[in-house]
Each structure stands twice: as C-alpha cells, then as structure tokens.
Symmetry: C2
C-alpha cells in the first residue's frame, strides 16, 4: 500500500528520477524544481488532465501508473500509452501550444509531482542535455507510434494482444499485469468480449496464467512468435 502522503517528495532523493528525463539535472536545478513543484497523491482512476484542456505544466510520476488515452466517437477509449514511475506525462501538448488531444488518468493510487510550464520551459532553455533528452524522447515515441499504427492496421487481434502483453510485461515487470479487461481491450483495440475469449485461448495454450485481474506470462517466447516479431 502506498503512503497516502500529501507530503513533499524530495527530488534529490527521488528514486524514480535517475532513469528519468530529469536525471541530467545539476543540483542547483534540482533544488529549483524541488522548491517550485507541487506534490500530489492521486487515488485510483483519478484524472490528471482531460482531452481539450490546456496544459499548464508537466506531471512527473514518482510512484504509480497512468494511462494515456483518447476517446473515439462513441466514447470508447483507445489507450495510447501506459506511463509508470519515472516517466513524465503531459509535455507534448505543452510544446505544441494546443489543447490536449489525449487524456491521462491513474490506473492505481499514485504519487505525482507537477512542474509549472514556465519553470519547465526555462529549464529546457538553459539545459542542453535536458533538451536533447526531450527531443530524443519525442522522436522515440514517434517511432513507437508508427509501429503501433502498423500493428493496428495489419495484425489480427490475436497478434495485437500478444504484442500488447509484451509491452505490458515490461511496464509491470516484475509484477504481473494488472488491468481491467476493458482497459486491456482498449489498449489492444478490440471489444471486451473478444479480448476475454482470446485470454482464455492463451490460458489454455499455457502462455499465461490468470488470477482475477492479474495476468502472469508463462511463455514469453511463444508470445514473441505470436506477435510476429
């Protein structure tokens, strides 16, 4: 159980920061961020920002899990990405100076800090390493999304489920995958019923093990070959 603290989380000792985009900050910069950011505890299924709203800064996940999604015409969610501890979310729309095209919501209780737009942009101006990191990150995500598009367009639901489970395995590692059937379906891009039937198949084929919401991958190799990679 997560400590439900509204307490300040100190950047300099934040274990999630090292392998994050803010890993390159010098101690002066850290202190500055630390002094200007705010820290918040989020319950499960709480919203960070909504589609259509305007970015006022970036969110930095200290502990927890956040889904990034879009709502299609009939209100069905399409999950684009799941962010975990150490990731920053919400900076894309801030750069493009447009309202968010995606929404963000916690999947579990989380501690998440918030850095204001100006603070963050100033930091980017003065820190070339941070800047390069951000640009690199944006570029990487672009190519991830190209893969995502190609998968969606060309693969069967079964193949996409395998692919998605590989992604989720890395995200949840070493814990089992823990998502509602609906969220899982909305990530794979299929109907909930179809997803459930496929999970059953995977279970019968010995690829996964299921305990209510928790899914453990037993045969990673088979998953890879199914995903067609």
């Amino acid at each position: 159980m997560l400590e439900k603290s509204h307490k300040h989380i100190t950047c300099s000792t934040c274990s999630s920061r090292n392998n994050s985009l803010l890993g390159s900050l010098c101690s002066d910069e850290i202190d500055h961020v630390n002094a200007h950011k705010s820290c918040n505890y989020f319950k499960k299924q709480q919203s960070l920002f909504l589609e259509g709203s305007f970015p006022r800064g970036v969110f930095c996940i200290n502990q927890g899990m956040v889904k990034i999604f879009q709502r299609g015409d009939e209100g069905k969610e399409q999950i684009i990405h799941i962010a975990k501890s150490g990731e920053m979310v919400g900076f894309r729309a801030m750069f493009s100076e447009e309202p968010y095209k995606v929404a963000a919501e916690t999947l579990e209780e989380s501690n998440i800090c918030f850095i204001g737009k100006d603070d963050f942009l100033n930091m980017m101006d003065s820190n070339p390493v941070l800047r390069k990191g951000i640009i690199k990150e944006l570029s990487k995500e672009l190519s991830d999304r190209a893969d995502f598009i190609t998968n969606m367009a060309q693969k069967s639901v079964r193949e996409r489920l395998a692919f998605t489970m590989i992604l989720l395995m890395d995200i949840y590692n070493p814990e089992p995958i823990n998502l509602s059937r609906e969220d899982l379906a909305n990530f794979v891009g299929t109907a909930t019923e179809t997803l459930i039937r496929l999970l059953k198949d995977f279970k019968e084929e010995g690829i996964i093990e299921v305990h209510t919401r928790k899914i453990t991958v037993l045969n990673k190799e088979k998953l890879f070959s199914l995903a067609g990679k």
Copy 2:
C-alpha cells in the same frame, strides 16, 4: 513537368522555405545551409532512405511528394504520412540516434535537398527558434499519430477512407488526389480490393469523382460527416 535539374536550388529564393521549419533562419544561416547542402532530382518511386539504415542528415522537399511508410511482417506497406513541398523528412530517427523505423520514397518526381547531420544539429544548437519549431513539430506529429491510432482501432474502413481523403485533400490541394489504389489502400490500412469497392460506393453517392488515378472530392461535408468528425 518538373525541371529535371541537378542544378543547385538556392535556399534564399526557395519558395517552399517560408512556411517550412527553416523559415526562421537568418540570412547568415541560410547562406551556410545553402553552401553545405546538396540538391538532387528524384524520379518517381525512388527511395530517400530505407528501414534499418542510419540517418546521415535530413531531407528538405523543394518540390514533390514523399511517402513515409513501414513494412509489416508480410511485406505489406503501411503508409504513415505523406510529405509535400516545404516539409522536412528524416529527422526523427536522427534525434533518437537509432536506425530508421520507417522508409521514405518519392510518389512523383521531386527536387529534394539534403542537409548533413552535423550541420543541422549545429544549427539547432545555435538557433532557439528553429529548435522550438522542431519540438513543436514533433509534438504535433505525436498527437496526429494518436488520432491515427484511435481511428485505426475504432473506425470502419469506410470511415477511415473518408478520414484519409480529407487528409489527402489538404495535402494535394488544389490538385486532385493522385495515388495508386495500392498506396491509397496502404494509407487507409485495408486490402486493395476493399478500397476499390468503397471508392465505387463513394462515386455512386456523388461524394467523389474519379478519373483513372485522379480523385476529386465533390462533397466535402459528406466526407466530414462520414469520417465522424
């Protein structure tokens, strides 16, 4: 017909530059680019770069049309984007320092300039406006791709075709859309046969007019309502 020149195209008088990412360059920078870049004439269906190769710089389209695509497991292309005059292609992988995940190929004969990696990166270091432009561009494309993913996941082929035609209309404007059936199908993410049948439907419904490869949109409103926007 395009002038098949291997002649140098002068940046300072390039009509495509004003509304491009390089619109912000001062005259010194322009001169520098102009002196260091190379210019090339590309035939139709000529490759700019392949999936898996390493970026050595960026391509700047003076005149012409380029498709950006990925090849799926069975070799079927998925078109991710179509770039036109004034656009730069190939810089994403350059930033992420990874091999290209996508390939680029001309759709028609084109004049395309090439700026070396070092020249370009140096320019970015010294020009904050260019830098902001690039970051903004990357962010915009990320949200475009989120839309693309949601469309792929949730819409029918018919709806996706409508959506794609709206995109293409803007790209080809004021010319009619001019793509092979296969390329069009590979953009929409469907089989060529299915695409042809839907085109026929659209034609019968008075939405489009078709002359061999050339497609003219007659009823934009209907297209919008079909696309579900």
